[in-house]
Symmetry: C2
Subunit: 276 residues, 2 copies
């Protein structure tokens, strides 16, 4: 999927919501426990409930790897289900991979070819040759960590070099030379709205994947104000606030309501930005 197609979906859905599929076994509602694969049953219900209000789904591999190869099978079934039932949905494997070149090439094959994701999140620490193997796939995307939503982002990402340029800005600066806005997006946490505005100026055409709205406390309006560009340029993720909106039999209905509420807020922001 290219950026124009993604923007088209954003206009059709009047939404730039990405739903994080991060299932935690202990939190699953009793309603899915009769199924053979509880996690898949849960994902399927969440996907069907929220698909009308979202343009992207983002399974985080950690929540599948806790179940080992069985969890990976659930991840594969989940992505295949989205691909088949919602072919225009953008699928991000939130894997935060990155290794030496010949190893990163294996990860790229795993997530783009084998799993069939549109995008994979990648960590920048190991530099250019750890990122480049992910770039050779037509219509596929690297989503590079720049400024993450967690408190630990302060430990290294804000370190300034002698020219007072912080590490996350250096990541943006270098990475925009490695890849075009058709190949790369950046992770910028919703918990840093001021910095998000600065990064938007450094990378005006790039999409940002913005986690941290909802359970982590980020503010959607603040993010949208400074982050929206001429093709929206934002995918804002919500996970826990949607997945666990209710633990009752109405969990999917409540997830849909939560997603709808966010979509309505996004619609308003898209109108303000004259994008719809």
């Amino acid at each position: 999927m290219n950026s124009e197609q993604l923007f088209q979906q954003i206009r059709i859905k009047q939404s730039y919501l990405c739903v994080g599929l991060d299932p935690v076994r202990e939190k699953l509602p009793a309603a899915v426990m009769s199924s053979d694969d509880h996690v898949f049953a849960f994902n399927k219900a969440i996907i069907d409930a929220t698909a009308p209000y979202a343009v992207a789904f983002k399974p985080n591999t950690a929540f599948y790897e806790t179940d080992g190869s069985l969890g990976w099978a659930t991840l594969e079934k989940t992505v295949a289900y989205i691909r088949t039932k919602y072919p225009k949905m953008f699928v991000i494997a939130d894997a935060k991979r990155g290794d030496i070149g010949n190893t990163s090439a294996r990860y790229a094959a795993a997530f783009f070819n084998r799993l069939g994701a549109d995008a994979v999140t990648v960590a920048p620490y190991m530099g250019a040759d750890s990122v480049q193997p992910f770039l050779g796939f037509d219509g596929k995307w690297v989503v590079l960590l720049a400024l993450t939503s967690n408190t630990g982002s302060a430990d290294f990402q804000y370190i300034e070099n002698k020219e007072s340029l912080s590490l996350y800005k250096q990541v943006i600066q270098k990475a925009t030379q490695w890849a075009s806005p058709e190949q790369m997006m950046f992770v910028v946490g919703a918990t840093h709205p001021d910095e998000l505005g600065v990064i938007r100026q450094m990378a005006p055409e790039y999409f940002f994947l913005v986690p941290g709205v909802g359970a982590q406390g980020g503010d959607l309006d603040a993010v949208s104000n400074v982050g929206l560009n001429r093709r929206a340029g934002l995918l804002v993720n919500a996970s826990r606030s949607i997945l666990y909106a209710s633990s009752g039999t109405d969990f999917a209905q409540k997830a849909a309501e939560e997603a709808l509420m966010i979509q309505q807020q996004m619609k308003h922001q898209l109108e303000l930005a004259k994008l719809i």
Copy 2:
């Protein structure tokens, strides 16, 4: 396994060799092709051939994830095989994970509890709360990326702050405050022997996992000269030079010969350092 037990194995084996189990399907010898699980058959042969000369095995998850859930099942079988047949072997899951706290906790459960590895490699970019969830497991280890062996290490890891302290040194400085030498090791590439000596001074008691000997061009003697400490403190990894020493029916024999050659060099270094 604690550091004293690991050092004991190093003295018994007269080796600090870690064998990287990074199987590439296209490179597998014809000899394993009659098996149902080619990759596992290959790993099993390599493990049995090299176990006498090694103290650690390090499967890199990328080489399994290219086969999706089936690859993960092979990874599980491989670790279980080592655990059962060679219970004193140190097993490192080379996964380079790292995410926000509640997600890193899932990775820790995946690699320590579910897979049963002794150690997992972790990327530092997301800071303290991305690393800490890996630290609460008795006898388990975080192997944190500090200075990697690839050329891309120059992109960010060498960036200096205003006090002229490079990023990889800041990672060492902070991380040694997060975790003791009983909980944490550092990845330091063999391709940077001078820097390895500096890092040894910053972290005298910590083990270093040193990739980059062999196919990547690092020099074992140079690394050992500056890296060995009073409990050895080094695990030097070799992957491709051992795994693909021969593509013939003698692949396991040639892998053993390659591992033996490295072990002999390590024995000499341990003698020079008066550790055996």
